[in-house]
Amino acid sequence: MRFAIGLLTILAIASIIGTVLKQNEPYPNYAFEFGQFWFVAFEKLGLYDVYHSSWFLLILAFLVLSTTLCIIRNGPTFLREMKSFREHATDNSLRAMRHSRQLALTLDEPQAMRLLQGHGLRVKRAARNDGSVLLAAKKGSANKLGYFFAHIAMVVICIGGLMDGNLPLKLGELTGSITPETRDLPQAQVPQQSRLTAANLSFRGSVTVPEGKSADVIFMNSGNGYLVQELPFIVTLKKFHVDYYGNGMPKLFASDLVITDKDSGKTSEHTIKVNHPLVVDGVAIYQASFGDGGSPLQLKAWNLQTPQAAPTEIKGNSLGAQPLKVNGRDYRLEFGELRVFNVENTGTPSSGDKSLAQRLNDVRSVRQDTKDLKNIGPSISFKLRDQHGQAREYQHYMAPIQQDGAWYQVAGVRSEVSQPFQYLRIPLDKDMSIASFMRLYAALKNPALYDEIRARTTAKAMQGQAISPAMQQQFSDSVRWVLSRFAQGGFGALEQFLDDKVPADKRQAIAQTYIKILQGAVVDVMDVAQARAGLPAWPQDAKHYRFLLDSLVSASALQDYAAPVYLEMSGFEQVQASGLQMTRSPGKNVVYLGSLLLVIGIILMFYVREVRVWLLLQRDDTRLAMTSNRHNRDLDQDFEHMLGYLNKQAGEA
């Protein structure tokens, strides 16, 4: 008993560890988190997969054994007690019972028998030598059965669990006949000792199938690597469906599957969705996840060194990689996932400065969530890797995004995976194109145009009498200097200059001047750019001026973008993939049977009370004695009830 409690405690503690320490993560994550020493120590203890570690399974096995022994040891006694009516109880023992009373009344035997049976008791009669008759009655023997049910249930559930556990796998790994594969290989090249045949009785793994493709294996995590489980059938994904509610939350994930039996070649079509798995050959197929399956993409590549040139068309596949040559340098373009829906919370967060009345009104109101979930359209992520293997990660959105009444194209960049994306908002012209911005950007980057630009800007300043004629040359030089400095390093470069060269007390004023110059000159930059391209002059209104100011911000941010090309996604054909989880668990029904036994056992143990009643019918009087398996107030009540009943009977007779 003590031993069992001790084991249970260890089991509980181990389970807690398993919930606190994330299970089955890639090993490098653990090494990073705990340091080498603890990483190795925890690995030896099997803490990365506690519930399947040898010692955990061993404790479970011990518990099954000790519970079984408990049943075998106590069982016969319990059974004997269940059967017995204790009809040979002596006067002394009857008198000694807590609920026992000598009553000055006589009952004849049929009358007493009726009384007891009328209360649903089973009765056994015993005639005694002194002529008296003892009626021993009882009810609720099933209470004892509860003990059997509950304890057998434990054993049954554990056996079911062990059937579905990975015990054979563990043994295979111990003997070396099975070794998890740790390399990232194409499935067909995984060696035999990392493959499990379709005859395997119990497994649980998953596979990702793109639309139009098939799979006949699943992958199972095992320690530091994975195993390949072969299936008795081939799964082909025809189409994956995803539906959304009006507020952007997902509503339905479903896969149209074609199952082809490997032996007979027969095919059948099914649709599975979350909560509605399909069972084939004892293998249950679940809709587990979804993603991109490698979609053909079309992109426009804007060369950022010659941004005025028309973009070139590039084709690629999401999740694929391809070489890219820009300005004589070799790069590798590695596409990530294409995401067609990007649901973002664009609602304003509830501010804390609402009045109490407003808040009270808010909590009373019945409404759907106000999180303004909005689909902001498709995005593609990719990495651009240079010859030295250095890469930056980009995330480009395809659809124009409206912010404060103007339209932008949004692109994110980061140099490390752990960092958040820095977003670039490129303003769009009236054709919803970034071409105008690129034209402006090209002109900004082109020193050959600066003389023309500064001439225009200075002339305008003179005209508006913003500067005196004496200042003309100096102003013109400033325009040129500010433009070239900005073109080289954006706002950052100007700030750097101020920090390095200008005394602190004058920085503010000079910064203001630079900004003013830039804001004035950008109009002329655009005019020159338009003229060079043979396009009409840039309209002079608030909307178009805002475009120019936004362009300055984007041009500055492009410094950090740090790529030779800007890849604008122009089209795609979505190919989705469905993540299928497959399980074969022969122990499931065993566990359910155990669960049923457990519930029956608990009900019998707690809600069936065993009561025994003895009526000793003697010549002059009667003795009533009662016991119950639990001394509680209920027995007091029952005893009083019985006494009252007997007295009434006697009164009537």
Binding site: L11, P250, Y286, R364, V366, R367, Q368, Q637, H641
Partner: protein, 377 residues
């Protein structure tokens, strides 16, 4: 547990019992005539099952016979006022201040707080009247809670037909369910064992939950109705979640009774509270009920997981903590029944049990990630 030696059930049923049963059957039949065509096989089964359950509950506990129809009537009145138009929530006076689900819940919160105060005042001053008033307010709060849940169910369909769902699918809704179930279980035991002074303790844990609900509503706008994500679209949810909360409610109540018992055994408030022995028994009965329902809920959860997650047991943190809670109370009951433990150690254990249970209930959602992450803070 009832008296064992009595007439069989069918002989003990009086006219009132049959009348109540008739009411439930007629109501169920009427619902079926209205919505039967939209129900699938499982939902028809649930309708039959819940009708049987409601009749049984009414026969077992007489107070249920007026409570349930009253909550239903209040909710039907709210539905009448809505008149198929969600915007009426802000226009109709009755809905805005009394009967819309959010107003009902706010009334529930207020009434539970007041009931707590009254129970304490009554217990400390030995005033039976105050405690009776406390009980009355607890009943009223429970009516608002149940009616509010029914109304919210209806409101979710008004938002959009595909949003409609039973309101037991996020942390906000289950907290209301928790308050409701704990209060009802307490009211049952109060009547049965005449232990109304314990109300002061049990209402404390309900008040704590109410405090959480208010914080969650005001700070996080958690009361907004969201549609069900695919993983939760299952009829299993309708039985798994309520069964679980009978367990949680019972465990919470037993812990508070444990606290009262420990105080009495130390002579604190001893003259104002029932005897420690009676509390010991109520505590045991609460844990026995909780254990049964928690076991059933965990099994139902396993069966649901087998449909949704690809296995009846995945060692997901919530599952694992459910197992720990289960082992904890299994050991508790074992010690009482087999080893004959009574009194103080078990009272302490029940109090500690509440910590374990609370962690399984809220802590897992707050601190651990896993498949059960439906309610985050």
């Amino acid at each position: 547990m009832e008296m064992v030696l009595q007439q069989p059930l069918y002989k003990r049923l009086a006219a009132g019992d049959w009348l109540y049963a008739l009411l439930i059957i007629v109501a169920a039949g009427y619902s079926f005539s209205l919505y039967g065509s939209a129900m699938d096989y499982y939902e028809q089964l649930i309708l039959v099952g819940s009708s049987i359950g409601l009749v049984a509950l009414g026969w077992f506990w007489p107070s249920w016979r007026w409570f349930f129809p009253l909550a239903g009537a209040v909710s039907l009145l709210a539905i009448q006022l809505y008149d198929h138009n969600l915007a009426r929530a802000a226009e109709s006076f009755g809905l805005k201040y009394l009967l819309s689900s959010q107003s009902s819940f706010m009334w529930m919160c207020t009434l539970f707080f007041l009931a707590t105060v009254l129970y304490w005042a009554g217990t400390l001053s030995r005033a039976g009247l105050l405690m009776r008033m406390g009980r009355g307010l607890t009943w009223a709060a429970a009516v608002f809670a149940l009616a509010g849940l029914f109304t919210r169910w209806y409101e979710s369909y008004l938002i959009a037909p595909d949003v409609g769902r039973i309101p037991v699918s996020n942390l906000y809704e289950v907290f209301i369910l928790f308050c409701l179930i704990t209060a009802l279980m307490y009211l049952y035991y109060e009547a049965k064992f005449a232990v109304r002074q314990v109300g002061a303790f049990v209402l404390l844990v309900i008040s704590a939950a109410v405090g959480f609900i208010l914080w969650y509503t005001f700070e996080r706008q958690a009361h907004e109705i969201q549609p069900l994500i695919p993983a939760l679209q299952s009829w299993w949810m309708k039985i798994h979640v309520p069964a679980n909360f009978v367990g949680y409610g019972a465990f919470a109540m037993s812990a508070m009774i444990g606290v009262a018992q420990l105080l009495i055994r130390r002579g604190i408030l001893a003259s104002r509270l029932p005897s420690a022995e009676i509390l010991d028994e109520v505590m045991y009965k609460a844990i026995a009920v909780g254990f049964l329902f928690f076991t059933i809920a965990t099994i139902l959860g396993a069966m649901w997981a087998a449909d949704a997650w690809g296995g009846y047991w995945s060692w997901d943190p919530k599952e694992t903590w459910a197992l720990i809670v289960w082992l904890n109370y299994a050991a508790w009951l074992h010690m009482r029944l087999v080893k004959g433990w009574r009194g103080e150690p078990l009272a302490w254990w029940a109090v500690v049990g509440l910590l374990v249970t609370s962690f399984a209930f809220i802590g897992v959602n707050m601190f651990l990630s896993g498949l059960h992450s439906y309610g985050t803070l």
